[in-house]
């Protein structure tokens, strides 16, 4: 078996001529047009290797023109191409020639797929910085203009994202043209383009001189914010926030606020939703005075909105909004204006609103302090803990830490326990799954005594849940609990119960024991594992159900690293060998896998790793750079690859090498 038959593979491959390095590159170039998308994608991702091999001159004159017309391909290939081209400056000869990259990116900026266009725009923005001011005006700015006046809206939408990067670096006449182009796009016929312009308005405003912000941007903003399509108006809200940060405080009231006020009361709920969603940013942008006079009533209205989506978005912002209120009047505003609305939301008709509120309401306690929390917030928490919707209760439980800091969890524990128990027994397994995930957190907050007394039995009950996902989460939960409470606690409370399940008549429960052992062996350490767990595992290797037996093999493989080598050799190995001669095929397979499986096998001899001859091997395994061993039934070929190969040659290269060698030698 070890008698390796080494064959040379032909002068082209093994020799050290300068041409050798061409072969893998030639493969890469040909695969740019392979029928298999995956191979094309691999090639595109290695485009820099190809360009490096071709040299800057040929990259500019041959490769880029070819890529410019390669727009028929699959999205993922085009996306990779757009991304690659953003990092291509050095490969075409440095900043001096960076404009050569514009044509392929221009054609990518007009395809119909948004992700590709966006990536092309991103790359264009990136390389715009590498243009000299002259090149920017000679090459880049004309491209922006071409896109901005393109026939199809795809090109015009792409143009919107490019104005802001070239504006700061061009002469004032060109600046005026750019502003004009942007104005035109803001009143484009198609909503797509107006949306793109609206979403880039804030960004463009940032690079404009203040006088133009006041003269140009404000009027564009006002126009977009009253567009007939609400999909455009809602994007103007975000732009409004950015613009507000740019303007001096005294201009805000006259220039921006009327429009924003109008947006907060827009007829379309989607626009109001956007206002609610951006409320914290808005609050920061307009400053404390306007917040007090304008935003507080606006926020109250949003919390009372007739559309549930809007209320939910506003409810999500309650904590942030309160936190950012000016300190001097914070408490009064919250107590007199916000809290009454919040109280109503606790009994909202829509569960999304309630659960949005539940996810932030606990945060108010740190802002309001102990007394207010106990007097005003605690009743709300308790009400939400009893809410009919499990998500609301879960959200309260998941944020317990905030309250714990302020008033201590004991205040809540009376109501907490029934809520937890009810969730733990909820009929929906996703709810049970969610509460399991909070167990380690709760255990930490409530302490080991409370846990042992009230919650431990729940955790054990989940291990025999009839849904696999719950049993799986429960094992993982045990591991986290042990991490928290220590191995000794585990040995006293958990391990006996887990091991007891090994005698359960239900084989699914017996398997759960194995899964628990897998999870616990590492955190419990060698002693507990060897002393208590291993004997049980060995015993189960005689189980009559094959599923249990092959899971024993898997478990042994998993806990192997925890055990000492003596135990491995004398105890584990015989058991695995016995399983390897099991009558069941799967048991045999997993036992074999545990003994000598590819990289994780316990008894694998590392020096003579075998690479089975399959396509998969080339995909999954990183082969040493200097040589590749390929085993076939008859022959073993040793390839010496030249060091010129790219750092990570694509699997396709190996694949070709393989075909080639098999073709010529077998």
């Amino acid at each position: 078996k070890n008698n390796v038959n080494i064959k040379e593979i032909g002068p082209g491959m093994a020799g050290a001529d300068s041409d050798d390095s061409l072969y893998p590159i030639a493969v890469l170039i040909d695969e740019l047009r392979n029928e298999d998308v995956q191979l094309r994608l691999n090639s595109i991702k290695k485009l820099s290797t190809i360009a490096l091999a071709l040299g800057v001159e040929r990259t500019r004159t041959e490769l880029l023109p070819f890529l410019t017309d390669t727009i028929y391909d699959e999205d993922e290939v085009l996306l990779a191409l757009a991304e690659q081209l953003g990092n291509f400056t050095m490969l075409v000869g440095g900043p001096e020639y960076v404009h050569c990259l514009l044509p392929p990116l221009e054609s990518l900026a007009t395809v119909e797929e948004t992700v590709v266009r966006d990536k092309a725009v991103e790359s264009l923005r990136k390389i715009s910085h590498e243009h000299s001011p002259v090149d920017l005006e000679v090459h880049f700015e004309p491209l922006v203009k071409r896109l901005a006046s393109g026939d199809w809206f795809t090109s015009r939408t792409s143009a919107c994202g490019l104005f802001s990067v070239c504006y700061p670096r061009v002469s004032s006449t060109v600046k005026a043209e750019i502003r004009q182009h942007f104005r035109t796009l803001c009143s484009d016929d198609t909503p797509m383009v107006r949306r793109a312009a609206a979403s880039k308005l804030g960004e463009f405003a940032k690079v404009l001189e203040l006088e133009y912000v006041k003269s140009d941007i404000i009027s564009l903003f006002t126009a977009l914010a009253s567009d007939e399509q609400d999909s455009v108006r809602l994007l103007a809200v975000e732009a409004g926030v950015s613009i507000a940060t740019l303007l001096p405080q005294e201009d805000l009231e006259a220039l921006v606020m009327p429009t924003l006020r109008q947006a907060a009361e827009d007829k379309s709920w989607r626009v109001r939703y956007m206002v609610a969603d951006k409320f914290s940013d808005l609050q920061k942008a307009v400053g404390p005075e306007i917040t007090k006079n304008d935003l507080v009533p606006a926020f109250q209205n949003l919390l009372k909105d007739c559309e549930a989506e809007v209320r939910a978005a506003a409810a999500n912002k309650v904590k942030e909004f309160c936190e950012n209120l000016p300190e001097d009047s914070r408490e009064t505003i919250i107590m007199t204006h916000i809290l009454p609305c919040v109280k109503e939301l606790v009994s909202d008709t829509n569960q999304h609103v309630k659960s949005a509120l539940a996810s932030v309401i606990m945060g108010l306690s740190t802002i309001l302090g102990k007394d207010n929390t106990i007097e005003h917030l605690l009743p709300l928490f308790l009400a939400q803990l009893k809410d009919e919707c499990p998500e609301v209760r879960l959200n309260i439980i998941s944020n317990l830490d905030c309250v714990n800091e302020v008033i201590g969890i004991r205040q809540l524990s009376q109501s907490l326990l029934p809520a937890i128990v009810e969730l733990a027994e909820d009929a929906k397994w996703r709810v049970r799954l969610a509460i399991i995930e909070y167990m380690p957190l709760l255990a930490g907050q409530l302490g080991v005594e409370f846990f042992d007394e009230k919650l431990n039995s729940l955790c054990m009950a989940w291990l025999v849940d009839h849904v696999y996902a719950i049993r799986e989460a429960a094992t993982c939960n045990l591991m986290k609990l042990v991490e928290k409470f220590g191995a000794e606690w585990a040995q006293n409370t958990i391990v006996p119960k887990v091991l007891g399940m090994a005698n359960d008549p239900n084989y699914l429960h017996r398997m759960t024991t194995l899964f628990c052992i897998n999870a616990l062996s590492e955190v419990c350490g060698q002693e507990i594992t060897t002393k208590h767990m291993l004997p049980v595992v060995f015993k189960m290797s005689n189980d009559q159900v094959a599923n249990v037996r092959f899971n024993v093999a898997k478990s042994l493989q998993k806990i192997g690293p925890v055990l000492d080598s003596n135990c491995l050799q004398t105890e584990v190995k015989p058991v695995l060998e016995k399983l390897a001669s099991d009558q069941d095929m799967d048991v045999k397979y997993f036992a074999q896998e545990a003994i000598s499986g590819s990289s994780t096998g316990l008894f694998m001899e590392k020096q003579c790793a075998l690479f089975p001859l399959s396509k998969k091997c080339f995909r999954d395994t990183w082969l040493p750079k200097c040589f590749v061993q390929l085993f076939t039934k008859q022959t073993i070929l040793l390839f010496i690859l030249t060091p010129n190969l790219p750092a990570e040659p694509s699997c396709s290269v190996y694949h070709h090498l393989l075909n080639l060698s098999l073709g010529s030698h077998i």
Binding site: L22, A26, F66, E112, Q229, E307
Partner: protein, 491 residues
Amino acid sequence: MLTQVDRGPRAESLLQRQSQFNRCGASTAAARQHFSALILSDREENELSVPEIDTRKIDNSFLRDHNYATEADIISTVEFNSTGELLATGDKGGRVVVFQREQESKNQPHRRGEYNVYSTFQSHEPEFDYLKSLEIEEKINKIRWLPQQNAAYFLLSTNDKTVKLWKISERDKRPEGYNLTDEEGRIRDPTTITTLRVPVLRPMDLMVEATPRRIFSNAHTYHINSISVNSDYETYMSTDDLRINLWNLEITNQSFNIVDIKPANLEELTEVITAAEFHPNQCNTFVYSSSKGSIRLCDMRTSALCDNHSKLFEEPEDPSNRSFFSEIISSISDVKFSHSGRYLMTRDYLTVKVWDINMESKPLETYQVHDYLRSKLCSLYENDCIFDKFECVWNGTDSVLMTGSYNNFFRMFDRNTKRDVTLEASRENSKPRAILKPRKVCVGGKRRKDEISVDSLDFSKKILHTAWHPNENIIAVAATNNLYIFQDKVN
């Protein structure tokens, strides 16, 4: 390799059909002969906005022996794109055929307006839902074109369950030059590779490709009857019997339910949604029609869920006309906004109605499509024809309405002159490039020459699907497995 065994009659007819289409596309003289165009009609009678109709007939039946016209070949939807340059048809076999209008050329002026096959592809395949033990037909229920966004064309096609977004694009260049193989495709000796070749793009014969771009599935429990693209170019809705879902054209893994009329208990179900459409330019407004004869207009601005309508268009029932069939024949089979967005047209079994969007109480205009069938409802009920879903269309200027009837007849109504006409789409009764002759159905009494009696109408020949070019007088009429294209007479 496709073996002979695999090729059932369906596959055979498909292959045959495709090869014939290719010949048409190649514009060979032989193929041209099949595009027999007819002219019929009596000029005085026919002074609608389609006063002189020159007919071009693209007749699928020429493509094969008549015996081959299977169920799968029945056309199930017809739709022009926004410029009218392309026309798409879908059929029961899940295929989509796209026709492109011939460019005007000096030497053959009469060819203008002729539509030739541009692309044919299999949009949907028959499927089986294993969880529900349901067969899912491949029949294309609706096709809708997207506004053009670049050189390629996009359309949405749907069967009962799944909406697909197709891209139809042209390719006229092909990369040439490999490193590892020579011009004849032989593998080169790697030792001879001394220089690298970058492929070069060379012109090639124009190729039209149809590629599925997105598949919007798993969102409908019931059968999809309508799809409609929103004027925001970003969303579309799909409608089944009980629910309407809103999709983003770029997102396939989530959709929003905006209307749900399913009662908690299905036994309380009294009506279903029959059709729905977005307003042509207000992105927040849409309408849906019901089997009870009402049309609801919803405003998506007011609320995320549009279960509560903002307008309800309904005509009070005339108690004197009440009969066993009243409810069935008042079911609306199609609803269409006018191009202006001001009016709605609805089709029920016997009439076409035009509603002003600002008047909910009654329709502005009511046109009788085939009132002579009123006495035959009983037999139409027995042969299930009473459940046929006729569609209706506006002309480009919203002044003429068109809808189908039986016996390969279709009807047009001029809203200004209040004149109407019945025309026939058939190969037997008309010649290529002839003017269409109006037809008359006689009701009782003596049958005059040229008239056809109600009793001899062929109810198996129904025209359910029609389309009108967005700005010219060109119409497409689907008569079972034949597609007829008629246009104003040129010259």
